[in-house]
């Protein structure tokens, strides 16, 4: 099994920095360096640097690129301006999710899409199968790009030490292309998956290590530390962001996941429109909720949610929130119970009250 795991260009740096490498989505990735809680709190208070080079990239280009994306995605991409990015779902005809993605527009006819690592081959095949007669190319650029995420309240200050790009001019979900730490052709976007301020940097794979070293050196005096996938997961859960395979999947639609804002029914046609319209109008059979527990035990994926003695749902993700210092998570709960204050969750035979939260735990 281990011989099939892919390595990012930063593999040697992870080992040098003491990262604990584990298999994740077919990649050998650092789950932590010094500790998940310490790395999590660094992102909330100073800054953390993540290697997210396992994420995939596809370039979509051609005369019909924008119309093609409008047809295969739930969000509207034809109205995106060059230099801006947008979050979207890509759905099956039955409304289940193929993947969630961020689409960056470079020009009228050229886009870059960020794909989940575990879904990249499936996404590329899916998109190519839908081209038909459209004048559009779907290019696999997964190996060409590395990705770094610098996240936290001091991220901008630190990144500014390594680039002349006017970072203050980049709005949320905006991006610029330019030089970072001497590496040209970097895409710097004000996006992230942590709920804290920060940037994601797409860079040529060969530039990954020198740029990461430059950022770590520049940021060290300000409290920047390398952060792993463990902190990335607890950060995104506190912020209420979905993770494919947990809150969204081929069986959990964007309407169920509370991502209806990404589904533009104003578009006359897109894949999944009819099924999603029915769910939005009639109410889905189950929905994703966020919850916290007044305990130290974490309710993890698969734990059963009860109303009285009736199973009404299951946990999709769970972790300890370092900011709240209590367990949080998400659950898929049957219609009629998503607003209940009487739910419990079974953790190894103990039923604990589950408190549903309509707001993310960190904003």
């Amino acid at each position: 099994m281990s011989e099939t795991l892919a390595r990012t260009p930063l593999y040697d740096l992870h080992a040098e920095l003491g990262g604990r490498l584990v298999p994740f989505a077919g990649w050998e990735m650092p789950v932590q360096y010094t500790g998940i809680i310490e790395e999590h709190m660094a992102v909330r208070k100073t800054a953390g640097l993540f290697d997210v080079s396992h994420m995939g990239e596809a370039r979509i280009r051609g005369r019909d690129a924008a119309a093609f994306l409008d047809r295969i995605m739930t969000n509207e991409l034809s109205t995106l301006k060059p230099g801006a990015a947008r979050y979207t779902l890509m759905c099956q005809p039955d409304g289940g999710c193929v993947d969630d993605l961020i689409v960056y527009r470079f020009s009228e006819t050229e886009f870059l899409i960020c794909l989940n690592a575990s879904n990249a081959p499936k996404d590329l095949a899916w998109m190519r199968s839908l081209i038909g007669t459209a004048k559009v190319e779907v290019l696999d650029e997964c190996a060409a790009w590395a990705q770094l995420a610098i996240q936290g309240p001091l991220a901008e200050q630190i990144l500014a030490l390594t680039t002349a790009l006017p970072l203050a001019s980049i709005r949320r979900f905006g991006f610029l292309v330019g030089e970072v730490a001497g590496a040209s052709g970097c895409v710097v976007s004000r996006t992230g998956y942590t709920g804290s301020a920060g940037f994601e940097i797409y860079l040529p794979a060969a530039s990954a290590t020198p740029v990461a070293r430059a950022l770590l050196a520049a940021g060290k005096p300000l409290g920047l530390i390398p952060a792993g996938l463990g902190a990335r997961d607890s950060l995104r859960l506190e912020a209420g962001y979905p993770l494919y395979g947990h809150e969204i999947s081929e069986r959990i639609s964007p309407i169920q996941a509370g991502l209806g804002w990404t589904v533009k029914f104003t578009k006359a046609q897109f894949i999944g429109r009819e099924a999603l319209r029915r769910q939005a109008d009639g109410g889905p059979p189950s929905s994703v909720v966020m919850f916290s527990l007044d305990d130290r035990r974490i309710a993890r994926q698969g734990a059963i949610v009860f109303a009285g003695d009736t199973a009404v749902g299951e946990v999709l993700s769970g972790t300890l929130s370092p900011v709240l210092n209590k367990p949080i998570g998400t659950a898929l709960v049957a219609a009629g119970f998503t607003g209940s204050s009487e739910l419990t969750v079974d953790i190894r035979g103990t039923r604990l009250p589950l408190h549903i939260s309509v707001e993310p735990f960190v904003k």
Binding site: R296, I298, R348
Partner: protein
């Protein structure tokens, strides 16, 4: 490298046990185990008076990443549980062989202790 004190005995499941002169023993998890778990957030320990067979699950240690069962190295009755870990579960990461001991037990079959690993044998499993 993780610490493996020479004066303790061990299980392959990464518990340590210190045999006391009075026929009792103190049990915890090893430095290797705490490092593998990462930040410990909860330790679920049994009540005083409960009995466990050798190899039986006596509790759970939970980190941000995962929950792991704790296995009794010997057949024993609980005489004390370290309730201080309720408030400071992270002590398991800082002092796995000291303040973060988990249970004190009365051995039911002292002969079982001969089955446990010594420090060299345990180190060889890591």
């Amino acid at each position: 490298m993780s610490q493996v004190p020479a004066h303790l005995r061990y299980t392959k499941e990464h518990e340590w046990i210190r045999l006391e002169a009075d026929g009792t023993a103190t049990i915890g998890i090893t430095d290797h185990a705490q490092a593998a778990l990462g930040d410990v957030t909860f330790v679920d320990l049994p009540k005083v008076g409960k009995s466990f067979a050798a190899g039986e699950v006596f509790g759970t240690v939970e980190s941000v990443k995962a929950a792991s069962d704790l296995y009794s190295p010997v057949s024993a009755e609980i005489v004390e549980a370290n309730t201080g870990l309720n408030d400071t579960p992270d002590l398991v990461n800082r002092e796995p062989y000291g303040g973060a001991w988990m249970i004190r037990v009365k051995l039911k079959n002292p002969a079982e202790a001969a089955q446990l690993l010594d420090a060299a044998a345990y180190s060889a499993t890591l």
